[in-house]
């Protein structure tokens, strides 16, 4: 080897040494917060009056408080939050909330009825995506320092449940106004607090938002002034982690404490690892088939017998056990398990022979041809392609020949909304836990999925209205049972499954309980 080449080689060795040294250098660690590997790429804003995605619910639950709360252990009971008590007038139009004394925001400012008035009025006037929560609210008044009086424009028994939604969080009005927040009538153009509220919180919750890096991470630190006493965790970091294998590697190496929404395929691997624990939570999400009864599509689907035949042809258990490794439940039509009024018996069972005879009765003994539409995404972790193929195979067993048309999600939603799709599957996720969250959207010819498949059934609409307005809980449940009977006979919405959400975490994480709206409650958690 010549002298020159030796020189080049030594140059390369130096470079290599730099590479190796930097690879083996290890960064120092500070006091460790709870780190969650999850998908935060849905976040657009963290302003409670503007955000309408999923991750924001977890963050807002940690950084703000609501007047009332629904806790994980009992989804049908409303508990006090910032309000120690509340009353509803006999006509159901006036709600009076009495706040606890001495609660303060993380800033140290006292929390008063004025802050509630400000927050809810602002939510309404911003006319953002979550503003419809307060559609029924005619006015909010701070009657005195600790009393809030809300007047509704129509009786809305779901209102107390709506008050538990993170969108109705109470903001520190003094702090928020300093950063451009306003509750004025024209807040949709004059409110300039969005940028600030996306990087900071103005709440009274157990944690304080300190940063959001889009597609990166969301960081929160403990609020030492929390009115219920400070949390155990020093802070929480939600970090973006889209690849399932990498997320599990992060967890196994101890770089994250919790891996949210773990792939069902990886569940067995977690259970086999003694250092990890697997926790499942029942979501209130519903993956459903929608079958339009409308004649304009010129398909046999307009015949109720055909729709019932389809409902009988689906191999529900096969989908749950085969595609979801058993981590899902079979919900009734259309209220998921866990919601008041949900009756598990109001569902369809697989019966291939029964389906065939229904088809024959309807005049299609040899089946017919149709198309399955869906978005190019996934349902509870199953690629929609796979789910569509399973449905296609099930339909083939009763003689129906279905082709599959998967479209980019935006295109799919555009066509669904334009009432162009006669047969599709999609997923419905709730924002609050009142049954009207479903009945408002699956019953009326001018609202939600019902409108999109041109479902126009006056009896269904009528009973949905009655049930939503009924304030006696028992009578309300009875009405919802009747409501589900009508859905079963109609067979325009056929629930496929209600997925469970799986969490893998280190065995040192304690106090984790799943909640179907905000998923994690960091206040109750600790790390040893």
């Amino acid at each position: 080897m010549s002298k020159h080449n030796k020189r080049y080689l030594s140059y390369l060795w130096v470079l290599l040494a730099i590479v190796v040294l930097s690879i083996s250098a290890v960064g120092a660690q500070d006091e460790s917060p709870l780190i969650v590997a999850t998908q935060i790429d849905d976040v657009i804003t963290l302003d409670p009056a503007r955000s309408f995605e999923t991750t924001n619910l977890t963050v807002q639950h940690a950084t703000y408080d609501t007047l009332l709360e629904i806790r994980s252990d009992d989804l049908n009971t409303i508990m006090p939050g910032l309000a120690q008590s509340w009353e509803v007038s006999d006509d159901g139009l006036v709600y009076t909330f009495r706040l606890y004394e001495g609660t303060t925001f993380a800033s140290g400012n006292p929390l008063t009825a004025e802050d509630v008035r400000f927050s809810w009025t602002r939510l309404k006037n911003i006319k953002g995506n979550p503003s419809f929560y307060v559609d029924a609210v005619a006015s909010v008044e701070a009657t005195d320092e600790l009393t809030v009086t809300v007047t509704l424009s129509a009786p809305t028994p779901a209102f107390a449940t709506i008050v538990t939604a993170p969108a109705l969080s109470v903001l520190d009005s003094v702090l928020a106004k300093e950063h451009g927040a306003t509750d004025a009538e024209d807040a949709d153009v004059t409110d300039t607090a969005n940028d600030w509220l996306t990087q900071n919180s103005a709440g009274s919750g157990p944690f304080i938002l300190t940063s959001w890096t889009p597609l990166g991470e969301i960081t929160m630190v403990r609020n030492d002034n929390y009115w219920r006493g400070p949390a155990t965790l020093s802070g929480v970091t939600l970090r973006q982690s889209s690849d399932a294998t990498t997320s599990l590697q992060l967890l196994e190496r101890g770089d994250v404490d919790i891996y949210e929404d773990i792939d069902k395929d990886l569940a067995a691997q977690v259970q086999a690892n003694a250092d990890l624990q697997l926790v499942s939570g029942q979501t209130l999400n519903l993956t459903y088939l929608a079958i339009s009864p409308d004649a304009k599509f010129e398909l046999p689907l307009s015949d109720a017998l055909v729709r019932q035949a389809i409902a009988k042809s689906i191999d529900y258990d096969g989908i749950i056990n085969g595609l979801l490794s058993g981590y899902a439940d079979r919900p009734p039509v259309i209220l998921p398990l866990g919601v008041a009024g949900s009756d598990p018996s109001k569902r369809y069972e697989r019966d291939v022979e029964g389906a065939k005879s229904l088809l024959a009765e309807a005049g299609f003994p040899d089946g017919f041809e149709m198309t399955i539409y869906a978005g190019q995404s996934s349902s509870a972790g199953i690629p929609n392609e796979t789910l569509a193929a399973k449905i296609q195979a099930d339909l083939a067993e009763v003689g129906i020949t279905a082709s599959i048309d998967l479209r980019p999600n935006t295109d799919f939603l555009t066509a669904y909304r334009a009432q162009e799709l006669p047969f599709l599957f999609a997923t419905w996720t709730p924002d609050y836990l009142d049954p009207s969250m479903w009945s408002d959207y699956f019953s009326y010819p001018d609202s939600g999925p019902a409108a999109r498949i041109l479902l126009n059934l006056p009896e269904l609409a009528e009973i949905a209205t009655q049930a939503a307005a009924e304030s006696d809980p028992a009578a309300r449940e009875a009405l919802y049972v009747q409501y589900q009977d009508l859905h079963v006979a109609q067979a325009s919405f056929v629930p496929l499954f209600q997925p469970q959400q799986l969490y893998a975490m280190g065995s040192n994480v304690q106090g984790f309980v799943y909640h179907p709206v905000y998923s994690m409650d960091f206040y109750a958690m600790s790390k040893s």
Partner: protein, 338 residues
């Protein structure tokens, strides 16, 4: 001279940018997707007040030509409109996502140049030797293996099994990001005097740089090698050797100067490409950069963001090409700005 040349090149970029924006605008209007689905979300579509407010805010009730003219006028003021998806000004989004990409692009370019040129010279000088052949094989491997695959394999080996490299992300998750000055974590950590942060940021750059830079390295290596082989046969090299110059002086003082011309072209284009965001590498390493942002925008048909991002990338190419042209003049006095 130079100033007038740069100015003229920049002015010429304006009609090009307008052309690109027009094409993008027309494509969007042919696709016929309802932007409201994205702006207000599935649920709120049934609420007329919310939908009306959105239509007014985003100017969707105005004719297409008017939307385009407004767009161009705003663009000339540096306002690319608001992203449908993030609801924030596109310029703010691009400014937020660019530094992560820039940091990775710079480190990849540095890696590719510092490793690629010497290796290329070595391969060229030792033309057809065993070293040359093995380097050729490695660079072929580098250029043909998909980064999402090598990325996952590298993470599994170096992070998961060996523990010598950090996991995905730009910084140790237990650390707080340095206060944003340039947006480059390495630079900002140093400016803040945070040594541990600097080390962690550098450490996190390693694997993605190896993957992304490895691709460029292969390119640089092959171009350098080919050029060196070509140059070493020339008369002036024989003259230099004849004068009694050492082999090292012959290569670094004479051959390398001529090799730099094709190399600068390649490096310029590679750098513009790296700045446009490496989607796969960014995804595997959870790198919150431009590539991920633009893919998300494309999937959601967020056209203000697509338009702004595409124009920014076009601008990178214009500027990089201009710098390359200027470098030509410096490297080769025969090239002058006509």
């Amino acid at each position: 001279m130079l100033f007038r040349y740069v100015l003229r090149r920049l002015i010429l970029a304006i009609p090009m940018m307008l052309g690109i924006s027009l094409v993008l605008f027309l494509i969007y209007n042919i696709v016929q997707v309802d932007p409201l689905v994205m702006i207000v979300g599935e649920r709120a579509l049934d609420k007329p007040e919310i939908v009306d407010a959105a239509i007014r805010k985003w100017g969707l009730d105005r004719p297409i030509w008017e939307q385009y003219i407004t767009y161009v006028l705003n663009m000339l003021r540096g306002d690319f409109g608001d992203s449908f998806l993030t609801k924030r000004p596109v310029v703010d989004d691009l400014v937020a996502f660019l530094p992560a990409t820039a940091e990775l692009a710079l480190s990849s370019l540095a890696f590719a140049t510092l490793m690629g040129i010497p290796l290329g010279i070595l391969a060229g000088v030792k033309h057809r030797s065993r070293i040359d052949k093995s380097l050729w094989f490695v660079s072929l491997l580098n250029a043909s293996l998909p980064p999402f695959w090598t990325g996952l394999i590298f993470l599994t080996i170096f992070y998961f099994y060996l523990g010598v490299a950090p996991g995905p992300g730009r910084l140790d998750p237990r650390m707080t990001a340095p206060e944003r000055i340039t947006g480059l974590f390495t630079v900002d950590s140093i400016l803040a005097g945070n040594w541990a942060g600097f080390v962690s940021a550098l450490h996190h750059l390693m694997l993605p740089t190896l993957i992304l830079g490895g691709f460029t390295l292969a390119l640089v290596l092959r171009v350098t090698r080919a050029a060196i082989i070509e140059e070493m046969r020339r008369d002036y090299i024989r003259t230099a050797r004849g004068k009694g110059l050492s082999e090292r002086r012959t290569i670094t003082g004479h051959a390398l100067r001529n090799v730099m011309i094709p190399l600068v072209t390649i490096l310029g284009l590679a750098f513009a490409g790296l700045l446009s965001g490496a989607v796969m590498t960014e995804t595997v390493f959870e790198w919150p950069g431009l590539g991920q942002y633009l893919v998300k925008a494309a999937v959601n048909l967020d056209y203000p963001a697509i338009q702004g991002g595409t124009l920014l990338i076009a601008l990178f190419y214009v500027v990089v090409n201009m710098i390359v042209d200027i470098l030509y003049g410096i490297l080769d006095p025969r090239v002058r700005y006509g």
